[in-house]
Symmetry: C2
Subunit: 581 residues, 2 copies
Amino acid sequence: MYRTHTCGELRIEDVSKEVMLSGWVQRIRDKGGMLWIDLRDRYGITQLIFNESKTDADIIRKARTFGREYVIQATGIVTERFSKNPNIPTGEIEIVVNKLTVLNPSKVPPFTIENNTDGGEDLRMKFRYLDLRRSVVKKNIQLRHKLMQHTRSYLDGQQFIEIETPVLIKSTPEGARDFVVPSRMNPGEFYALPQSPQTFKQLLMISGFDKYYQIVKCFRDEDLRADRQPEFTQIDCEMSFVTRDDVLDTFEGLIKHLFSNVLDVTLDTFPKMTYDDALSIYGTDKPDIRFEMKFVELKDLVEGKGFRVFDDAGLVVGISVEGCAGYSRKQLDALTDYVKRPQVGAKGLVYVKYNEDGTFKSSVDKFFNQEQLAYWAERFQARPGDLMLILAGDSSTTRTALSLLRLHMGKTLELMNKKDFLPLWIVDFPLLEWDEETHRYYAMHHPFTSPKPEDIEKLETDPDKAKANAYDLVINGVEIGGGSIRIHDRKLQQKMFDTLGYTKEESNQQFGFLLNAFNYGAPPHGGIAFGFDRLCALFGGMDSIRDFIAFPKNNSGRDVMIDSPASISEEQLRELSIKMR
Amino acid sequence: MYRTHTCGELRIEDVSKEVMLSGWVQRIRDKGGMLWIDLRDRYGITQLIFNESKTDADIIRKARTFGREYVIQATGIVTERFSKNPNIPTGEIEIVVNKLTVLNPSKVPPFTIENNTDGGEDLRMKFRYLDLRRSVVKKNIQLRHKLMQHTRSYLDGQQFIEIETPVLIKSTPEGARDFVVPSRMNPGEFYALPQSPQTFKQLLMISGFDKYYQIVKCFRDEDLRADRQPEFTQIDCEMSFVTRDDVLDTFEGLIKHLFSNVLDVTLDTFPKMTYDDALSIYGTDKPDIRFEMKFVELKDLVEGKGFRVFDDAGLVVGISVEGCAGYSRKQLDALTDYVKRPQVGAKGLVYVKYNEDGTFKSSVDKFFNQEQLAYWAERFQARPGDLMLILAGDSSTTRTALSLLRLHMGKTLELMNKKDFLPLWIVDFPLLEWDEETHRYYAMHHPFTSPKPEDIEKLETDPDKAKANAYDLVINGVEIGGGSIRIHDRKLQQKMFDTLGYTKEESNQQFGFLLNAFNYGAPPHGGIAFGFDRLCALFGGMDSIRDFIAFPKNNSGRDVMIDSPASISEEQLRELSIKMR
């Protein structure tokens, strides 16, 4: 036996019990006559005490040889502490040790196992098993577990069935790049790892499982941007005989359940906003609605006054920032620099200060007089003391730039409280995107997404205008999940493939099984998938998903701890009938 | 809206409600003036009724166009049935339909969607989504879900944390063949898919997570024997600060919990048997103990009587089969044929009938007289009416052959009731196996398994004799799970790698991260993994795991439904820096 109790469990009621604990040496304090050890395990920290006047000298001698992170076993009597520690649950007691064993010594760790560690990112990733001992990281993994549990309990309660779909599937040209797996038994052929279980969950609906879910690993061989992982986890769900609002209600329920059970936060009904509105009001389909600063368009007001920048622009659009009319030259220059960064992409910034005295001061005073600026202010619903920031240019770039400037102002003014959670459904996405380079349409969501019923005929006449029966859930400006009502009609699915430029052979070779399945009584169905890593990060109040994955990979897709990927033997290559180029 | 209720939920209390149902046409009965449709969904079957005297003629006309597996929506009034069906929960009511819509028609399915289908294995696999509609298959998948849920609820209750380990890891030479994944971003390098999360779960113990579990996909690129899958699911668990019996108690609890909650079966304490005893008593480390027929060794009794077969044999061993002394010549010949099959491998079979009158009749009467045979019978504890079956030869082959004969007799005599569940822990496995071909030791379990503490020094002196602190759980002759107490000492792990013939470079390159982790306070730990597919099959009372996997692969590792694996494009190969040989 290694322990009678964990290091988190003893209380004042246990005083005078003989107990045995095992754990890690977190800290040793040696005051000569007295010596204390903080013993740590997953459940907490318990103080061990060694008193020269009472404890056997051999035991104290042994304790003095310990270093941080030694694994030890201690037997002793639970005793009330003289000076209690109200910050930890075991803080009222300590163990007077009468037997002490080293279970495993430890070298000095390459960084301190403390919340504020001296270890850099690279070192911590190489020794991830030590990094995971730090309570900040450990808590993230525990939070992830809790979110998993509550996700399952909600979905189980809603009669969803968890069904595992295959990991070794088939490569498809649509979407991101697949990871592939050469088949030894079928030389020249490859499996692919799933980017999502999309077609399988649709087949499960055709099988009649009615409500499916899975918390499942997915894979994308992308050039990793910061905070993307080649393998990631999805809460993947699908339902039959549902309309869009059935799906939204069910999963609004899930998200509320998670917030309530994990964070004790009660959320109001989630508002819905169309994709078009999101773009015109916030310049993005992932708006952070924790603060206002809605976009205001000015083109009609500002045209023909001799200011070329506005006259030539497709779009003149701005935001009004409350209480910032007092911004200095330097502050305004910094904002101009911000919008001119290549990642933001604006050519310049026009500002109008609505001074407290009711006058205006702008960077375009040469072209616009006080009266005209007053009209702008009226449209902005600005008040004295506010600062109007205006961008101009082509529609898409300008919207994006202003949406970034809006977030920048929100951050600067601390309007984005990590404890506030503002969910928002974005609906009515475009069905298709035209790609100039390859000169074809791509599915904005994926090729299985249904057009809105009233837009089906636009697939023929006006594909650009067709809206999809698709939806995203955005919380605090982060896309948490997305889904759609799917096509369940073979002819419509075939037309969709046609519109996307697949030949009949291609669509049959890639998705013949699905088209065929639609022949045998496919029910209306739809679903959603949530990015589970991202959801964990949101709940944990952090930006990076890496902190919520036990063993993440770095930005080159490497696991630096196990040093993977790595070369394999010539014999393995030969067995797989492949060789390197 | 598609439905107000499911097809499994309406009862006599609902009579006279207006309801809307959606589902599949299971069966149509047309008696001229009356027509009935059985409407099916995941939750049940509800009868729709159309009466020429009451129902709108257009609706009846439409209903008559339906075929099996049409997806339809019906609105109508719940009515008490004239002739009730006590076999289904909805059997007291039917729906008098007043509105009928086809949601999706269906071609005639390639096989009937009934428990006794006319579809062969190949056809059902190709149309797996239709096969899954059959309630026998659907029930298996639902059983799997239930087992998953109860596994999680038990382990959550025991403070286990579910942690996802990576799927893209590193290839190791030990064990079965790995599936590998070429890395595009790291040309010439490969990930491997995990055969199990073994090293990661050990690192999680080193991280201090104390109790870990995961229901996780694992991968083995083996030449598939019948009923093996290249991807399979494991309940994977690990615990810190535990002895063997702590692990066995915890997981005996899990298995009892599953039997009690899923099958309403209460299991007694699981007996433990050493590997050596299992081999000498049952000839196998996976004994089915639902019936006795224990092995009895006779060598000392039968030697030197002139019967060369016995005199030359390393082992003479038999079983006594109750009440079979009356077996005919033909039956005995059939048993001889059975043991001589190449898969069984015996050279012949000796029988001794213990006749009801107390005399003996044997196939070796020439060499052994009645008195001698009486001694045999005594050792067998046989009684008049029993049949003794004896094999002779070299120890290992003979034991295996007799264990197969024992199972054959058990099956013939119907001693293996599918409703009886007899679990058994097998303990004290050998640590190592010597391989004559490669002239080296292999780890019987895996290289991380700890020797029994008292056998550690045998690693140097007598590796063959060292026992492992390893255990398997066997139920009804099927290996359900296995595990071990792991090595947590760096030196011992290094010695183990040495014994297995790894060079220092090899062990460092493959497992350096683990050896290194042992330097920083690795706690004593151990764990277990259960074959989840196999467990589902056991609970479902079936032999094949394939019936419990939604989308299984065939014996060539192919998914015939999606036609995978498949060739990939030249561009994909080029991006991955590989080409075909």
